[in-house]
Amino acid sequence: MHSHMRFVNIRRSTIQKRKVKKVFLTKSNLTPYLLLAPVVLLLVIFFLIPGLTQLSLSFYKYLPPGAVIGKLYEPTFTLENYIRYFTPTYLNGYFWPTIRIMFASTAIALILSYPVAYSIARTTSCKLKKIFMAIIIAAILVGPVVRVYSWLIILGKEGPLNSLLVFFGFGRINFLGSELGIIIGTSQFLLAYLILVLSSSIQNINPACEDAARSLGANNVHTFLRITLPQSLPGIISAVVLGLTLSATMLETPMVLGFGIVQMQGNLIYNTSLGSVVNLPFSSAASVVLIIMALTISYGVSYLLKSQIKWAK
């Protein structure tokens, strides 16, 4: 009897051990490579190579149209594109607005998302959860056009938001064509994504911890601040990274809500590639800047915040 019990416990850990060694029998070791060839080819040809081409193009010399027939750039190494970018015109016109909008909208979206994410994670009703999820996923699925057009209406001079402000005695604000308008539109855009990340992270927090805190005498506010919030920090960091990345790379929102007056980095790429003055090396440089900006800022912030949490994984 007694020895049987001992073996049951050991067996459980072996089952976990067995899950790790998932080696599939292959006659030849080429099979995985063959099956993966399509996707690798696709990504290498249409993603890696264009990306690298863009990188090299950013170091090429711009040729004004007509200087050399049929060529828009000259493949000689130059830093002129980057030098040109890092001047006040472009920095103030594109770089800093992007940064401001990134951080402002992520912050706002974070504050608005957290309560909803918490409710979803902690709700006991399956049906309610499904409804919440449906709303959030629908918000993502409908796409940027619907979103942007909606804000175009709402933020208009005669639009509902201004009407509301007038109703309460405030003056009309020119949302469209201002950074504020873009920030409002972007914050709403980020909501759905942040809610998804936060709710799945909060769900991983053991609810028994909160119960334990309450049983020890902490009220709800106290429990939240001392127990729940700290444990959700890794999720918050993921949400922040996602928010910064998504907002940095936006095109539709600033294009429509910015009215051409306020622009973001994405607009710069668009303008210099499809706009009136085409400068492909410059647009490539702008793309490189955007990629580096998005990646370094989000992961830099993530690293900074993670180092503050001693117990983070």
Partner: protein, 354 residues
């Protein structure tokens, strides 16, 4: 006729040598169990026979044919998984028909075979149900006949009873053995549960650390363990270490580390000077006075366990070592109290030298 032969199987996983030069032969119609603790390599051996693992060295012969390079799906074996692995999206009928359809067996015959096998496990009505609608015991039986309906050369079972509760497990042991004998199919059974191994098998191979430590009938394994591992793994044993001080034609005398002089019947194999003697607790008898036996040890009763059909006495000897005696309980049996000084004794034929 040997339905299965394993010769020198070796399997290495990174730092772990799972199977170490394992050689085994199984006769046609035999029920052989691989018994051992977790991690001893028994499942690896089973999966190698099935073709789900590829041994690094060694040869596997099924019905005389070398199958090392034969893929799983051509080996014609039946494998029952621990979690049954019934296909959740197929009905019981479709699950059972799966292997037959692959073999292109005509539909009327499929229907007949399914009916026959469902009758065999006494569940004729469930063919249109889905696995999640069945109880654990029912799933287990369906998994069993799914593997035999294809009429394989071998039936392999990987701890199939572990997920059942105790009562059901005991019932299934009998059921399984009955079906196996009825079908006459060569069966390899893997388990860590001694009770299963002993009650179901024609032969048991006790494994540890990738090697077979002893192979034989359940009776042989139990009565005459050939090494310390088997002695301690199967049932309970009292083990005494010591040195041989005398040996004649029939018996060997050993002086143990705890200063006892024990006599044991000569073993079949040659032994070295340093040996161990094992004696089963049920062979140990107790007496208040000095008994007239060749093997006697004196000690205090330290603990008593009343286990229903028998009582387990834990005795502490003068030098601190322990002896366990299981005395079967009946109204006439004499009982001892904690703290009493008693004599434990047994005959030379009732212990084993290893």
């Amino acid at each position: 006729m040997l339905d299965l032969e394993l010769k020198g199987i070796v399997k290495q996983y990174d730092r772990l040598l799972a199977v170490d030069e394992l050689t085994l032969s199984v006769n046609s119609g035999e029920f052989l169990t691989l018994l051992g603790p977790s991690g001893c390599g028994k499942t690896t051996v089973l999966r190698s026979i099935a073709g789900l693992e590829k041994p690094d060295k060694g040869e596997i012969f099924i019905k005389g044919k070398l199958v090392n390079d034969t893929p799983v799906y051509k080996r014609n074996i039946g494998l029952v998984f621990q979690n049954y692995a019934l296909f959740p999206h197929l009905t019981v009928f479709e699950n059972l028909a799966f292997g037959l359809k692959i073999r292109k067996i005509p539909t009327p015959e499929i229907k007949e075979r399914v009916k026959k096998h469902l009758d065999l496990i006494r569940l004729p009505e469930i063919q249109d149900r889905y696995p999640h609608q069945l109880s654990g015991g029912q799933q287990q039986r369906v998994a069993l006949i799914r593997s035999v309906i294809i009429e394989p050369a071998l039936l392999l079972l990987d701890e199939p009873l572990s997920n059942l509760d105790l009562k059901l497990r005991v019932l299934m042991r009998v059921e399984l053995t009955k079906i196996q004998k009825e079908l006459g199919i060569t069966t390899i059974f893997v388990t860590h549960d001694q009770g299963e191994a002993m009650s179901m098998s024609d032969r048991v191979a006790v494994m540890n650390a990738g090697k077979i430590r002893q192979i034989g009938t359940p009776r042989e394994i139990y009565d005459h363990p050939q090494n310390r591992f088997v002695a301690e793994f199967i049932g309970e044993s009292n083990v005494f270490n010591g040195k041989i001080i005398e040996k004649n034609q029939f018996e060997t005398t050993v002086k143990t580390d705890s200063d006892l002089t024990l006599v044991v019947v000569n073993p079949e194999k040659e032994t070295q000077e340093n040996v161990s003697i094992t004696v089963r607790p049920e062979a140990v008898k107790l007496y208040k006075q000095v008994p007239s036996s060749k093997n006697v040890a004196q000690g205090y009763v330290e603990t008593i366990e009343n286990l229903g059909p028998y009582t387990k006495y834990h005795l502490r000897l003068k030098d601190g070592s322990k002896i366990i005696a299981n005395l079967s309980y009946s109204k006439d049996t004499f009982t001892y109290k904690i703290g009493e000084l008693v004599f434990a004794y047994w005959e030379p034929g009732e212990c084993t030298l290893i």
